[in-house]
């Protein structure tokens, strides 16, 4: 295990929130067809409130800070927040569409930001602009990526795979290589925050997922990745799902704290409570933190339990944080060809919903 991995495990074991994702706004200058957010401002935290939250996060031991949104640069005070975060010595990653970044690239670099993740959906301008619903966005985003790269910043192109851009992922990966930036591919489409599931129609078919899993350009350890699951050991059954509520959490622009971006279980609000009070004493976070693989209602008896990337947040969205996430069942199935306990229980008539996966291609690992 790498030193960084060891520190992550130590934070997990000690329940230290080593990493936090903070959305500073839900407002956005793009209207991406697959976005799960409501882009109105319902009362974002003020500059002073966010600075206070950052102070609290530093005191709580947060090291990795992700600034995201919405579009972070729509906040006029974003650089003030960024400067404050860097004074507090966070390792900062920014997620942006980069449309508004020009000369700001120099300032970002000077502040010692670690990584800029930029959303790009295709190598074809017309496809990207149709997804973002912002004419000219591809051209502006690509220009910004070049600015950022030329400043010596680490840039990652993040692509969301959906029906609208299926087939473009390899061309975009090639474009990223030509630009000299990293590339990630994520076929995750989640329901809207208000529960609207209409966007799920954008998910790619499972058979296409299978193709993605078996592409060595995207999955470097493909044979191991797609191997049939090994029987779970006792240690596997004593393990936890992921870092949500253990060493990671999510904070909304309104100060709401959740176990994860993808786990909409309200666990406290920073306008009424201190961060550490929520982190240490929230009944919701404590409950999430308590769940081991052996406690899962269906998955504890599943042959995939030791290797499945079951997301407790998606399971929660399906009805129970201890239940299966059928999207991850689909992922395990198309990855290995072996049906999951949930699929066998439900029978062939109830095929799992289309998948949600997180993969990182070879080019991003270098």
């Amino acid at each position: 295990m790498s030193l960084l991995g060891e520190m992550g495990q130590k934070a997990f074991d000690l329940s230290v929130p080593i990493s936090v994702h903070l959305d500073v706004t839900y407002r956005c200058n793009e209207r991406c067809v697959h976005c799960y957010l409501d882009h109105d401002d319902h009362g974002e935290m003020t500059t002073a409130e966010i600075k206070d939250v950052l102070d609290q996060l530093a005191d709580a031991g947060v090291f990795f800070l992700i600034f995201s949104g919405g579009e972070v640069f729509l906040r006029r005070d974003f650089f003030e927040l960024l400067e404050h975060a860097r004074r507090l010595l966070f390792n900062v990653k920014i997620k942006t569409n980069a449309v508004m970044i020009r000369e700001a690239a120099q300032r970002i670099r000077a502040l010692g930001v670690d990584t800029i993740q930029v959303s790009v959906y295709s190598h074809r301008p017309e496809v990207h602009d149709t997804i973002t619903k912002l004419p000219g966005s591809f051209k502006r985003t690509l220009a910004a990526i070049r600015f950022l790269r030329d400043q010596g910043l680490k840039v990652t192109i993040a692509n969301v795979l959906m029906t609208s851009n299926l087939g473009d992922q390899y061309h975009l990966q090639k474009l990223a290589a030509e630009l000299g930036v990293h590339y990630t591919l994520d076929p995750t489409i989640t329901p809207m925050m208000d529960g609207d599931t209409s966007v799920l129609s954008l998910r790619i078919p499972g058979e296409e997922l299978k193709e993605v899993f078996r592409n060595p350009a995207l999955v470097p350890n493909m044979e191991e990745f797609c191997a049939p699951p090994k029987p779970p050991s006792e240690d596997d059954l004593e393990s936890y799902s992921c870092s949500a509520a253990h060493s990671f959490c999510y904070i909304s622009p309104y100060g709401d704290v959740f176990p994860c971006v993808q786990f909409p279980l309200p666990s406290g609000n920073l306008r009424r409570q201190k961060f550490l009070d929520i982190w240490n004493h929230s009944p919701q976070l404590k409950e999430v933190r308590s769940i081991k693989a052996k406690d899962l209602t269906v998955c504890s008896s599943c042959t995939h339990v030791s290797s499945c990337t079951r997301c407790p947040g998606l399971a929660y969205l399906e009805g129970s944080m201890r239940g299966p996430s059928s999207a991850d069942c689909e992922k395990s199935f198309y990855r290995t060809g072996v049906p999951t306990a949930n699929m066998l229980r439900n029978g062939p008539a109830t095929a799992p919903v289309r998948g949600l996966v997180q993969i990182r291609p070879a080019s991003a690992e270098s």
């Binding site: 520190m7 000690l14 670690d114």
Partner: protein
């Protein structure tokens, strides 16, 4: 003998995790975990205090170490971190105090 002055780079991120200091350079993603003694030196790297004084006041007084060995270890530690751009080294103090946020 010329003094050595050390200051933290503005490109680094740092935080205490239990008894260890995590330090990461955003430029090349190098990651270090510092023990208690190294953390004491790193925290005192204000760009204005000579390394010799830091070792005397922050290391020898707080830890049970041989002064000569402590100075040698500190110089080696500073050389290693400066190679990765995490500490800046000079033979004169910086004109302005360096930022002193406690990680």
């Amino acid at each position: 003998m010329a003094e050595t002055y050390i200051a933290r780079s503005s490109a680094i991120a740092a935080r205490m995790l239990a008894d260890e200091m995590m330090v990461m350079n955003s430029l090349d993603s190098t990651f270090f975990s510092l023990n208690e003694v190294a953390t004491a030196i790193w925290q005192a790297a204000d760009g204005r205090t000579p390394l010799r004084e830091i070792v005397e006041n922050q290391v020898c007084e707080q830890f049970d170490v041989d002064p000569q060995q402590a100075q040698a270890d500190a110089e080696q530690f500073v050389a290693e971190l400066s190679q990765h751009g995490i500490l800046l080294v000079a033979d004169h103090p910086w004109p302005e105090p360096q930022p002193q946020e406690k990680p």
